[in-house]
Each structure stands twice: as C-alpha cells, then as structure tokens.
Symmetry: C2
Subunit: 232 residues, 2 copies
C-alpha cells in the first residue's frame, strides 16, 4: 500500500507500532497541489498538518508592506504545519508548492489523538522539533555573523536537504538572486558582491536562476574562518 | 517539600502524575551557582539538563575570533540544556549564571527514562519546543527586518519573561549597550542611533546599564509599522 509506505517514510511515523500506522491511515487524506499553489496560509487557523510525500514547498512570510521573507524550502518527506497544530495559534507563514506536490493531510484533532495514544509518535515529533530548534539557532548565529556565513548556511542546508531527499543533482540549487535576497534579507548589491567572492574562491558557480556548489566541504570551512575574522 | 514544589513549577513537570514527580525526585540533584559561574559549556557533551529554580542565566556563543553572541536570558522556572540532551550532540552555547542561581539537574539517561515512562512529560517537552521554534522564527523575522524590529523583539521578549517570572520592576531591563550589541550583532553606532529614536518617541528611557520600557504595547505596534515601511 503506497500510503502506508509514505507514512513509514515520514519522520513523524518512523519506527512506530503498526497500530499507530493503521490509526493514522484511517484519518489521513491525500492532497495534490500544482506548482505555485498555496498549501497553508499565513494568519489562517492552524487546523491541519501535512506530511509531504513528493515535491518541494517554500515557506515564506509576507509583512504588511508586502515585502516577502523566504524562511526556507522543505523537501519530501518533510512535515509542515505541525507547530501551529500543536501550539493552537495562527500560522505564522505561508507555504506554497514549488513543484507538483502531494501530501498526506492530518487534522489537528486526529493528530493530537494519535500523539496521546502513541508516545512513539510524540517522541518522533520531539526529535523533529529539537532538530528545528538547533537549525534555527544555527541560522540566527550565521545570519548574525556576516553575509558569507548567512549564504553558506542557506546553501549548505538546502544541499543537505536535497541530498537526503535523493533528488538528482543535489548540488544544483534552484535559487535565483531574488530568492537569495528574500532568504537572507539583503540587498542585491551585497548578495552580488559575496557571490562573486565565493565564485572567485571556486566554492560555487551561479547563473541568474541557480547556484551550483563545487566544494561544499570547503564552503563550510571557509565560512567559519571568514566569520571569525570579519568585523562585519 | 521544596523540591517537589520546584518540580511542579517547572514547565517540564507541569500537570504530570505523582508517580513521575516521585521518580524525578529520586534522580535530580540540586545545584547552586554564583553570579558569573559557567553552568553549561559550549562544545562540551550534553550530559545533563537543568530546571532553573531561582535566578537568571545568560545563553551565549563564542566564536573562534572570541566575538561573543548573546542568544538570550532565561529566568526561573526555565529549562536549559534540553536540546543537547535529546539531540545527543555537543552543546552549541555556553550558559552562565547572571545572578545567584539554583537548579535541579537531571542527567540525560534519567531524563530519557522519565520521558519514555511518562508521556505527559514528553508532551510538556514538545509544547516547550514548539514555543521555542515559534520564538526563534519570530526572532529571525525581526532581526531580518531592521534594527528597530530587532531591539523591540529583544526588549519585549525579555520583559515578558520577567513578568512571567514575577521579578520586581519587570520593565527595567538589565541590559547595557554592550549587552544589546552582543544580542543583535550590531555596531555601537547603530544601537545608539535607534535607542535615541525610541527614547525620543517616548517608548523607553535608558542609561549605560539598563533600559526602562515606558510603553511596551506601543513599542510592539510602532515596530511593526516601522518594519513595514522601512527599506532597511
């Protein structure tokens, strides 16, 4: 059964008892989205979470002045919407399909029931939240250092996510200059300057629509060095 | 019993069965720290977490070039060290006592046993992690907007924590200009300029060692407006 395999592949349902999987199968709904379609909307009630079973989504936040801040991309088999479902509040961001996307949708009430009945799912959720806290802390630190550190963090985390998702050419990141500006809240001039520098150091090459990492390991180390000597 | 009350006050042990509290009482150790003492050290193994029962700690990260980035303060009854204990990795930050501090220390192995046996503790931990993810997301957004938004986020979150902790004069924040620079990774010039602006708008007053919020509600709203019209 394809849905059962999809469930087992999700970090939320990894290594859980069959009983929990069977319960989840009763209440999940498969959803399909076209590229560009909104899956979750900022400021709407957080009534459901989605297990992404194929495709890529982009998480972003739009402020009143209509400036868009991209928070990151999530690849299958990632999870979206779980914090609003648990926290009980409104969604703080909009999630939009970047490609064709399929998900398994799980309503808040059903999810909470499964968590109460199956501590292993709750354990998986905690592990996922710990990884997210660690990631966000790393991002705050990188963004606070300088643009090199911020870009390196963005590129390497996207690369690692693409590797884990098993997509072809994980080192070719589908990021335009505009995407990068929206991701790190920097001006075109700053982004262009640092991209030229990383290109000259043979860390990466780039075009107006994508960034290709040549030496991810070096990118990681150079950034740490840069971060520590720069006064920014 | 004072320790039992301290446990019940901790967000981790809120509303848990007596059995879980009794188990925890068997394995916790009370620790005392003087102001300035290191409680958890960056890059050390994450072997234990602490429930803060009195006092205030500061979480910071020091990079090789010895630049210090302050990640935030935690007041009693906060929890520190739980992500390294769960994630199994090294600590990403140093935690230092700002005042005299007492904690209840819980080793990783004991904590994991309690989580496995008592899903309500795991539930509390998930709720705590969800709040932290939400907070870090808000911080990334505020820091990405402009210095006004960053300062407002820092001041308001500290104020709310002081309110919740029941400390006297919660609106008087013990932050020097140096502290603020280390918290938002900004230059003295930038911090001074924005502080003068917030002072002129009667949002706050400040000296070299503290910031006093005059109108927290207005601070929140002004910041949102600023954030949306400013080009940064």
């Amino acid at each position: 059964m394809a849905r059962l395999d999809d469930l087992k592949n999700s970090p939320l349902f990894h290594d859980v008892p069959d009983e929990a999987l069977q319960e989840a199968l009763q209440v999940i709904t498969e959803r399909r989205y076209y590229a560009g379609q909104v899956i979750l909307e900022q400021d709407a009630e957080g009534e459901a979470l989605h297990l992404i079973t194929s495709g890529v989504v982009r998480v972003s936040r739009i402020s009143l002045g209509s400036r868009e801040r991209v928070m990151g991309d999530v690849y299958a088999p990632g999870v979206i919407g779980e914090t609003a479902v648990l926290g009980g509040g409104e969604r703080s961001a909009t999630v939009r399909a970047q490609t064709e996307v399929t998900t398994l949708m799980l309503y808040r009430t059903h999810f909470r029931q499964i968590l109460r009945r199956h501590p292993q799912v709750l354990w998986n959720l905690s592990a996922l939240l710990v990884r997210r806290v660690t990631f966000l802390n790393d991002e705050l630190i990188a963004f606070g250092l300088n643009t090199e550190a911020a870009l390196s963090h963005v590129f390497l985390s996207l690369y690692q996510q693409r590797l884990a998702a098993g997509v072809p050419n994980p080192e070719v990141l589908p990021l335009s200059t505009q995407d990068i500006m929206a991701r790190i809240s920097s001006s075109r001039e700053t982004v262009s300057r640092v991209m030229r520098k990383l290109d000259a150091a043979r860390m990466l090459t780039y075009t107006s629509t994508q960034v290709t990492l040549i030496d991810p390991d070096a990118l990681e180390h150079v950034t740490l060095d840069e971060a520590d000597v720069s006064a920014d």
